[in-house]
């Protein structure tokens, strides 16, 4: 089975904070990690390879340092890593990104399944996975929490929805986006890390992918960011002190005031 995993290197947003004094982002010392949802996609891909045999190719569109993310993916079992990097891609929104990644996948050639994390923790749009599926004109199933069976060129999966889950089936080739309920990603092994260190990571530029220059980067992106600002901080209110019973009584009085007739 040929599996392609699309990953993104993101800043560790769990560590990104607002400086309360200046109301701006504090980004110093924030390390770059593989987008957490992508680690589940990588793990699932490696598990599929272990079950069915085949190859896992991991790709990422990003600046040169995204190579570290690809090596990390190789250290847990991916076979090959390809970095898609070019200044021309800078400023891409989700349309241009999914277009670029699709061009890369077309260059890789045949595949059975494309796996993506459900969304990236910096953009949070969840648009690139379905975007790739559309550019490639292949079926998709999003929010996959379990791959039940792959047989006769079809995949049957469980899909997480608000009220519970659905069981859906798709023909192959297809694209699946996965949620964290699907597996527990493994830690790298020493041999994996050594393999990753010496692995050759291919880098493909816009020219290598025969991209239409009108469809990539800032120029190819329909959406444009016009303003970035700090959210107005929600101010803290009243702090209640005293013995527990006192505090509770005070609180109820305040609420009666705020919500007449309700409490």
């Amino acid at each position: 089975m040929n599996i392609i995993v699309c990953i993104k290197q993101v800043p560790n947003t769990a560590d990104v904070r607002i400086d309360p004094k200046t109301n701006t982002l504090i980004r110093e010392g924030v390390e770059s990690i593989i987008n957490p949802f992508d680690t589940y996609a990588i793990e699932e891909a490696v598990r599929l390879k272990e079950k069915f045999g085949g190859k896992v190719t991991v790709i990422s569109m990003g600046p040169p340092q995204a190579e570290a993310a690809l090596r990390e993916a190789i250290s847990v079992g991916c076979d090959e890593g390809i970095l898609i990097s070019d200044r021309a891609f800078a400023g891409s929104d989700t349309w241009a990104t999914s277009y670029t990644l699709s061009q890369a996948i077309k260059k890789i050639g045949s595949f059975d399944i494309i796996l993506c994390g459900k969304q990236a923790s910096d953009g949070d749009t969840a648009q690139v996975g379905p975007g790739i599926a559309t550019h490639m004109d292949i079926p998709q199933i999003t929010y996959v929490k379990k791959i039940e069976e792959i047989k006769d060129n079809k995949a049957r999966v469980e899909r997480l929805v608000e009220e519970g889950y659905e069981v859906r089936e798709t023909t192959l080739p297809c694209l699946l986006t996965v949620v964290k309920e699907i597996n527990v990603p493994r830690l790298p092994s020493l041999k994996g890390k050594m393999k990753a260190k010496s692995a050759v990571i291919l880098t493909w530029k816009a020219a290598d992918l025969a991209c239409d220059p009108k469809k990539i980067g800032l120029e190819g992106s329909p959406t444009k960011v016009v303003k970035i600002f700090s959210p107005p901080p929600r101010k803290g209110g009243v702090k209640l002190t005293g013995e527990p019973q006192e505090v509770v009584d005070k609180l109820i009085e305040l609420l009666k005031n705020d919500l007449p007739g309700r409490v």
């Binding site: 800043p11 982002l25 400023g91 089936e169």
Partner: protein, 401 residues
């Protein structure tokens, strides 16, 4: 091509731009700012931050419109249905859509796909739509990516709406992403604010980024329709105006548009026997401060005393103290209740994102420096194991009156 550069003689290496850049694209080399063009998204945050006007951002003329903007008119709202019932997110979108349509002086239209849904048209009109488009086919009874995408693409190409809104639900996000790529339109996800730019009639789409640490305003100047998804409970529902009149248009398409390479085999419901978190007016949430899964009974008791729902922080869910369906926050649910009571929750930004638009936030935590107190309307520094039961008792007494 847009051009950004550092005016080296003006730059003092003060690092204000480094701190402002959301993409880590600026570093200081030999006391001067250097912008990594591969990372730069030309958002201009650094230009604003620089006190010495040492960064120049030249926006060259756009390569031009990709679509004939003037041919696109009206605001469309995708009304999501499940088992034939329209989901309340649709009323929120119609509420917001009405405001936008009025600002632009155009029509508000609702579109619904499904089977046996002809009667839903009137509901859509009553919630403020001037026109309701119905595609009523057996094949569309349940959501399938390809048929729904094909139908929407056909409709958009035929009727050319200038704005298209959809709920940021599992269905909405899967569907609209496909549509946007197919028709080469700009799509902004999870908008918390929508407005019209008076000058050029562009839709101003505001959304959080970087886990909610910054807000970005986005436009789609050269492409139509301008597409946006909005999360549940962020906008206000449109009120139902009984007997309101409007136009109903029923569409049918060739069977080939309903072809699907995926199949829905089964639906398994896994709702707990408690109030649906997103619909609740009062939510009581528990976090790491509870210490162990058994202590969630404090939360459940308090929630029951006010007929509220039980929520949880990610820490509690990750420790397996309570199922994920209760998680409130960036990777959980966004909630907007009248009262949100956070017990033993420190208030990390990822949690705040999920509940900070609650009308009243009450925080109970033994750590006086917990960040939750910065957003709490009423903060109680104390032992939740004492305060919560007393609160539950008091609420029960008051509710019984």
């Amino acid at each position: 091509m847009d051009n950004i550069r550092v005016l080296v003689d003006k730059c003092t290496g003060c690092k204000l731009c480094v701190k402002a850049c959301p993409f880590s694209a600026i570093t200081i080399v030999d006391k001067k700012a250097v912008i990594d063009l591969a990372k730069c998204n030309l958002c201009g945050a650094c230009v604003g931050a620089c006190k010495f006007e040492a960064i120049e951002l030249k926006k060259t003329e756009d390569s031009g419109q990709r679509t004939e903007l003037k041919n696109y008119k009206n605001v469309w709202v995708f009304c999501e249905q499940k088992k034939g019932r329209i989901q309340t997110i649709s009323w929120e979108l119609l509420g917001e859509g009405r405001k936008l349509a009025d600002r632009l002086g155009v029509k508000l239209c609702g579109i619904i796909l499904g089977s046996d849904i002809a009667e839903r048209a009137q509901e859509i009109i009553e919630r403020g739509a001037d026109e309701a488009y119905i595609v009523d086919e057996k094949e569309l009874e349940n959501y399938l990516d390809e048929p729904y995408t094909n139908v929407l693409v056909e409709l958009i190409n035929e009727y050319k709406p200038e704005i298209f809104l959809c709920g940021a639900t599992t269905l909405g996000r899967s569907l609209i992403s496909r549509v946007a790529v197919k028709i080469y339109a700009g799509l902004t996800a999870d908008c918390t604010g929508l407005d019209i730019d008076a000058k050029d009639r562009n839709l101003l789409q505001t959304r959080p980024a970087f886990g909610g640490n910054i807000m970005a305003t986005i436009i789609t100047p050269n492409y139509r329709p301008q597409m946006a998804t909005v999360r549940h409970k962020v906008m206000k529902e449109a009120q139902a105006g009984k007997g309101r009149k409007g136009k109903v248009i029923t569409k049918k398409f060739d069977k080939k548009f309903y072809a699907s390479r995926t199949k829905l085999i089964n639906m398994v419901e896994e709702l707990e026997q408690t109030v649906n978190l997103c619909e609740a007016n009062i939510i009581v949430s528990g976090g790491r401060g509870l210490g162990c899964p058994e202590n969630f009974k404090y939360i459940k008791d308090l929630a029951m005393s006010v007929g509220g729902a039980v929520g949880a922080s990610r820490a509690a869910v990750d420790s397996d103290w309570i199922p994920y369906s209760h998680q409130v926050g960036q990777t959980g649910k966004t909630v907007c209740p009248k009262i949100y009571i956070a017990c033993g929750i420190s208030g990390q930004i990822q949690h705040l994102i999920g509940m900070q638009s609650s009308e009243i936030i009450i925080a109970i935590n033994k750590d006086p420096d917990a960040p939750i107190f910065n957003v709490a309307t009423y903060g109680i520094v104390g032992d939740l194991f004492q305060v919560v039961p007393l609160l539950a008792k008091k609420f029960k007494a008051v509710c019984e009156k």
